[in-house]
Amino acid sequence: MNMKQTLVVIGNGMVGQNFLAGLVASNAKDCYRIVTFCEEPRAAYDRVHLSEYFSGKTAADLSLVEDGFFAGHGIEIYLGDKAASIDRERKQVTSANGVVVDYDKLVLATGSYPFVPPVPGHERPQCLVYRTIEDLEAMKTAAAKSKVGVVIGGGLLGLEAAKALKDLGLDTHVVEFAPRLMAVQLDDGGGAMLKRKIEALDVKVHLNKNTTLIDDGTECLHKMNFADGETLETDIVLFSAGIRPRDDIARGCGLEVGPRGGIVIDNQCRTSDADIYAIGECALWNGQIFGLVAPGYAMARTVVADLAGEAGSFTGADMSTKLKLMGVDVASIGDAHAKTQGAMVYTYQNGASEIYKRLVVSQDQKRLLGAVLVGEASAYSTLLQYCLNGIELPEHPDSLILPQLAGESAGLGPDALPVSAQICSCYDVSKGQICGAIEAGCTTLGGLKAETKAGTGCGGCSALLKSVLDCELTKLGVEVSTDICEHFPHTRQDLYNLVMVEEIKTFDELLDKHGKGLGCEVCKQAVGSILASHWNDYILKKEHIGLQDTNDIFLANMQKDGTYSVVPRVAGGEITPDMLIAIGQVGKKYQLYTKITGGQRVDLFGARVEQLPAIWQELIDAGFESGHAYGKSLRTVKSCVGSTWCRFGVDDSVGLAIELENRYKGLRAPHKIKFGVSGCTRECAEAQGKDIGVIATENGWNLYVCGNGGMKPRHADLFATNLDKETLIKYIDRVLIFYVRTANRMQRTSVWMENMEGGLDYLKSVVIEDRLGIGAQLEGQMQHVIDTYQCEWKTTLADEQRLKRFRHFVNSDQTDDNVVFVEERGQVRPANAQERKHFKLIEEAA
């Protein structure tokens, strides 16, 4: 007998999905059979980042549902089928397609719809809204035959929509009824600064404009007529004039709704029917609709708790926000408009740098009531903590928004925060949870993010997270030694700077000046890599030999039996039949085991040290050069065949891959570096799994950074879009050298970025905006590395002294008798222990 009750969820948007994910992770999951209706043809996706659909992300990238989520948890989902009515008597939901489901508990997560003001002409063609992926598709289609686009509404969503129009290449305007942009969140000063910054990005802003009629244009499809008599011609009109709760299904079954819409809920998110809950933008709590995702998630958590029989209630939500609009940092906290009685205001305005900051404090100046930040929002998390936790302000509250002069820190010490303080609002992680994870052994920023999810949403709390981590570690008495090893009281980055500033050319010089003892394999390799990255000497110069591990010394990869493997470079994976034959001949002649690598080249295994020079002589004679498979350096640039042959290819991915591989070959780095170049968004080269990934689009190259496969795979982040080749190469130069200079030893680009304060945004600001002013220097260093490239095997073969080292014994020409091969599938492989014993017996018998 089935004892389970049936729970129906209407709506699979961000909040509906968050509720399902929370429910299946809770104790209540086994009590319910779960059924959900999703009106859209696809399950939940990230509407907050919708505009990224136009800067390279796909519907799949935006999806919020893990593969197999519904099936794996036994959730029945009706995609593309809208729940049409509720019969509360019979406790039944009927869908548009006629599906009828009986429910015991019902959750309404129907969300909202864009409000379209009833302006005459609003139903003309190419008058659109901006909420779903289908809306975006309609925008894309319309944009293809348009030159001008207008957004009606200068709020948060309107500006996002304007970015989308801009990305589509349209001449973009924003028309706002109110006298300022983001009227809800910003004051006049902040709104004015935002307008200035947005206009600098070539988006025209029209304030105080009341649209009275849309009719035929002469230059464009439409002419917009405003109350003040002015007009504006445009091909597309995009309405973004606010949202309205979708409460029709609730009205239809007689649930209580607010006078201006919204399904009325109590603190447990129950509607006027105790078996029906409402969450997200469709719900009205205390007369308020919450048009942000975080309060919706808080409601979802409340209902999960209620269903699981745990305490939990929704008692309102903080509507503070921080976001990047068209590259402009904007934040609003609490009472931004100083409506509280007696509120005092501090304002800081920097016209030159286009920064505006405003603090609203209580009459006694002890509490922070609200804030507005435009152009620079790094103080956001500190200010938010002051506001939410009622922490007493410093004596001069304005110090919190004044520019930080050298050596000062106005940040709030994490010690001042209560344990309950919410550090990450995206994933609702409190300071207490973070401290717990630290006590349990998470001692790095990257580890803490993985463990608690804090800082992995919008990333706004990263800096605060880092300071909580540092503070807790100090308290726990964990001395976080960042020294590279016992021989140098420095980090790898320090050592790099010392080498650079003091122009140090050898390990001994660095050890004499800054270290002690003899060194070890850790610091020697790190310094060897730094010297190679910076000066790019031949790595087997006498003074550098002791710094290289065996792979670098023999320019080959040591395998388990002490033999080596050999990988010639095959740039971009493009190889002629003659070159393939040459590799085959070498493999055959020296009886090497051959295997195709994941990097589109051929690995030849089982070479003894004494064979390496002869093997390489033949490879070089055939036109090959070192593949640097042995080095912590650029490995391969994997490519798909691209537009040259492929029916779908948009650009020449092979050509670019070869150019990039030849440009960066030989670059030594803290760890190996892999590239991928795909000729279209089908992504056959798997570029998003690489340190540097490049994907062709019709408008240029999209650059992805800091991905990797391996033990902890990580998708690369979209870094910049629609680049021409020159800009692409400039950015890659800068990213790579910045990585080489600042990463820890053996740190892949992904971990490097995860642990960087400010993460991707910071990296972008260094590389794209050149905020440190070192762009030219980084490019210059890369040029030096490129100019001094040498094939290490060519150099080695020309060096008699070096070649003498390629023997197993210093005093004999014999070979290592411990290396024994057997045959398998037509090739050699190292003998295993049993086989060795067997051979030994035969030998002894003979």
């Binding site: 021989h487 001994d508 070890c520 394999e521 002791g546 065996t550 010394i553 388990k560 005093n811 411990n818």
Partner: protein
């Protein structure tokens, strides 16, 4: 009785690195610490990886004691005693070695210096 066996010229050694010598059928790793003008000899066979590779490890010191790191799985061996730093129960043979008139010679009887030095005991505690 053991005698010194001539192996090679000092120039055949690799400064701050190692070479392998074949001495009466035995593979011996010889390391030259140029900074201290010291030479060490231990067995070339790495007991962890079961391969003849120790001469190709990187050398230096741990807590002031001379060591080589196996190039295979990175365990450290004391250059004077052959004892593994990570697991004192594992060791490789250590040999006496000398520099004389520009020649390198080793003595094949495993050196008696196999007793643990005090500094090693400290390492074990960590």
């Amino acid at each position: 009785m053991s005698t010194w066996i001539d192996v090679c010229h000092i120039d055949d050694l690799q400064a701050d690195s190692g070479v392998c010598a074949l001495v009466k059928g035995k593979q011996i790793a010889i390391f030259y610490l140029q900074r201290r003008q010291e030479v060490y000899a231990i067995g070339n066979f790495d007991p962890f990886s079961q391969a003849n590779v120790l001469s190709r490890g990187m050398i230096g010191d741990m807590g002031g004691e001379p060591m080589v790191a196996s190039p295979m799985y990175k365990q450290h061996f004391h250059l004077r005693t052959g004892v593994c730093f990570e697991d004192a129960g594992v060791s490789v043979p250590a040999y006496q070695v000398r520099l004389e008139n520009g020649r390198v010679a080793v003595m094949l009887a495993s050196s008696p210096a196999q007793q643990k030095s005090p500094s090693l005991a400290v390492c074990e505690m960590e």
